[in-house]
Symmetry: C2
DNA sequence: AAATTAAAAGAGTTTTTTATCTTTTTATAA
DNA sequence: TTATAAAAAGATAAAAAACTCTTTTAATTT
């Protein structure tokens, strides 16, 4: 479904949102530990998320990653598109470039409905929403 | 979503079902052409599908692939599990090994519903069903 | 201003997936 | 029974994804 990079990206975004309340910064080390990701690998991902302004970063002592109010409105879709591109949103499940409504692959109409639900879910779930839910400590990011 | 191998497998299964009516055999070359797949690559995939008895094969002149009535009842799920394994069915979307109902990842419950629909679609759509629909020439397997 | 801290950037390496090429086996037909 | 056709099997190669290491840049703090 998602690439490994994208899985890490989603987890990292949620992690930073949680840990960076009231101006606090979260370091790469903390993000790596908190999401069970290889440090240098998640570094690349955070760079990309930073470049695309889905998260903020500051270098130097006391530096790290944090989020603005706007960043908290980032949806799963925003993250997926930033890391994996929009192939999940646009491409045919069977990989047929020519597949469309008028030239459908065998599973086109069956998959259409699934995809609609999937996209709706990813569009409506934002980092901020997860953040609220998390305050109850009811879900997990680490592989225990 | 699916691996390239799996995309080819689904297309190939549908192609063989269509072309192998009344005892006819379909050759690797035909399958490769009909599904826009590299011949030697689809050969490996057909071997695997053959080993798992999702399709029949006969060597030698006039040999090739064909399907029994039982093979026509193969679902998308059967093909996906044969080629990609059951990670799509079992694994957490964020790749967390420990994710479960009692230890959910942030998107667990959101994704649960999507997954249920997806699996239902893949379980209920069989090669035979597609085959019927195809008789009307209403869908495509090739990349034009 | 110098030392230090932490992310950014660049340059590999490893592993997995996708694809190709060659040889062997099996069945058919001349 | 030999030649041939076609899949099976094995081995290799290329490309992509995942991961690691090193150097540079930017911000702080002393």
């Amino acid at each position: 479904m998602f690439s490994k990079s994208c899985e890490y990206a989603i987890k990292a975004m949620i992690f930073v949102a949680q840990k960076s309340k009231d101006e606090a910064r979260v370091s790469l080390k903390e993000i790596a530990k908190g999401t069970d990701a290889p440090e240098h690998f998640i570094a690349k991902i955070m760079q990309e998320l930073g470049r695309k302004r889905l998260v903020q970063s500051i270098k130097g002592p006391n530096g790290g990653f944090y989020m603005t109010e706007k960043n908290l409105q980032t949806s799963i879709t925003d993250i997926v598109k930033a890391i994996d591109g929009d192939k999940l949103y646009l491409d045919c499940v069977l990989g047929l470039k020519a597949c469309s409504e008028v030239n459908p692959c065998p599973v086109h109409f069956e998959y259409k409905e699934i995809k609609r639900n999937l996209i709706k879910m990813m569009d409506t779930n934002t980092i901020g929403k997860f953040n609220e839910k998390l305050d109850s400590g009811s879900f997990f990011l680490k592989n225990l």
